[in-house]
Amino acid sequence: MADLLKLNKINKIYGEKIKTQVLFDIDLSFEAQSFNAIIGESGSGKSTLMNIIGTLDKPTSGEVLIDGISTSSMKKEQLAELRNQTIGFIFQFHYLLPEFTVLENVLMPALIKNGRVGEAERKRALELIDLVGLTRVKNNLATDLSGGQQQRTAIARSLINEPKIILGDEPTGNLDSQTTESIYALLREINHDIKSTFIIITHDQRIAEKADRILEIKDGRINMDVTK
């Protein structure tokens, strides 16, 4: 299957005077519709890699190609549009907007995309909320939810614009093991049904083993790359 995402010789160096290199010549490609897990100790550079893939951060050198298009020459506005339409984010700390309800949070990327929300988007949002099992609390403010419910909301939100890539940075990092299990089951189900490409950072070995491919990052380099 074609590569949806390609990383060429990615280096990342932090600091001006005291330079700390976090990533060393990373070459990677991800197939469309695959489910990938990235593991590694904290400080290994996996989150930095994830932020570079998600165009939130820029590599010091090297380029990121999404759907064959290089992101390195894109302007801020173009990157914002790319993130909005091609990438869905699920973060460890959920990052919902506390001023908005579950439904409004899920609709926010669509609102950003079109400037308004149509009936079709609304219907899709309700379907996604149903998919993640939050129909009962869809009009609750984001702050009036349990951790698991917040994470489910974030998952539904990441799917609203039907992005090709879904990035998860420890999406179950602070959830109990039972909730973690059900969230991963949900992600796999979505991967199967919607056919988005998933790249998930996790430190949970059991979870990683459920992925199609496991990548281990160690000291800024790829230490292991196993495809089942």
Binding site: L56, Q85, F89, Y95, P109
Partner: protein
Amino acid sequence: MNQLSFRIAWRFLKSSKGQTLLILLGITIGVSVQIFIGSLIDGLQKSLVDNTIGRSSHITVEPLGREADFERNEDLIVKLQDDGRAAKIAESYSNSGFMVHDDDTWPLVMRGFEIEDADMIYRFSESLTEGALPQNQYEVMIGATLADEALLDIGDTFLAINPEGNSQEFKISGIFDLQVASINQTWAIMQIEDAQVLFSAEDRVSAIEIQIEDVFAADTIAAEWKTLIGEELQITNWKDQNASLLSGLSGQSASSYMIQVFVLLAVLLGISSVLAISVVQKSRQLGILKAMGIKDRAASWIFLAQGLILGIIGSILGTGLGLLLNWSFSIFVKNPDGTPLVPFYFDPVFVVLSMVIAIIAATLAAFIPARKSSKLNPIEVIKNG
């Protein structure tokens, strides 16, 4: 600006109610003080100017030097009328003489007018305490003080004498009170023809008295008309004759503007600082929105929209409060005679202008926070958790 920024702005404002109310209170008080002070000073000046020159000639055309009168010039009157800036024009013939009644003699300033024209300037009909305006030949209207002293009443007659000794009997048609002691004591108001006949000055006038719409343009208009009236006449205006009043008024205006500017500045700084804090408070949300692909321009507009919303609501509330204060002031703060110290004065142009300035200022105050928000990098928020 799109619906997105507005919706987020509105929700941000609604979710931090305490902060929003505080900022609104600030704008409301600021705008109300501005409207109150501005309208109060405006009203004060209007009533002061009205009291001073509302019932007198703004621009007067007179003979030069010691001449008492000049040849009536129909052309000049037509030209002045055609100019369009003169609201009311009245020709008069005035001269001094005496009144003889019951063997007593009083000095008299005989003022002959086209009564209808002059009434529009001096509003004699409003000043009548008894009787009516002189309408027939040899009818006259005298001041209340003179009527008291000479024991004259409506329908009584007296003899008016000019310095050369010519005399004419006049009948009193009305008694006026123009609120000025010297006028009430000495003026006798009559038809212009009667005065001209008494002083053997047929077809001569002693002044053309003019009121204009824009009273504060009296000096410039008078200067322009100087060419119109020719060499033999002179033109005076109220501003030259009331320099001290004018400097008082302009001092008052200047201090009123200063107060308004500083109030506005304080409001502006208040909004700006509260919104700047709110950018920091909302930086997490902004980071999330940016990660989800909101563009910098739309992110800035969230804060500009907050300024705009606060400005609109605050200026409406402030205007209401300011006008209420003005109205209460005119109702509760009174002169000993029961008239308001400063009459309620509503200038829609000033009020709308104040509102527009407040709204623009509130939006501008949001400009710095807006810039800050557009510079915020989502990675800072994502990394720091």
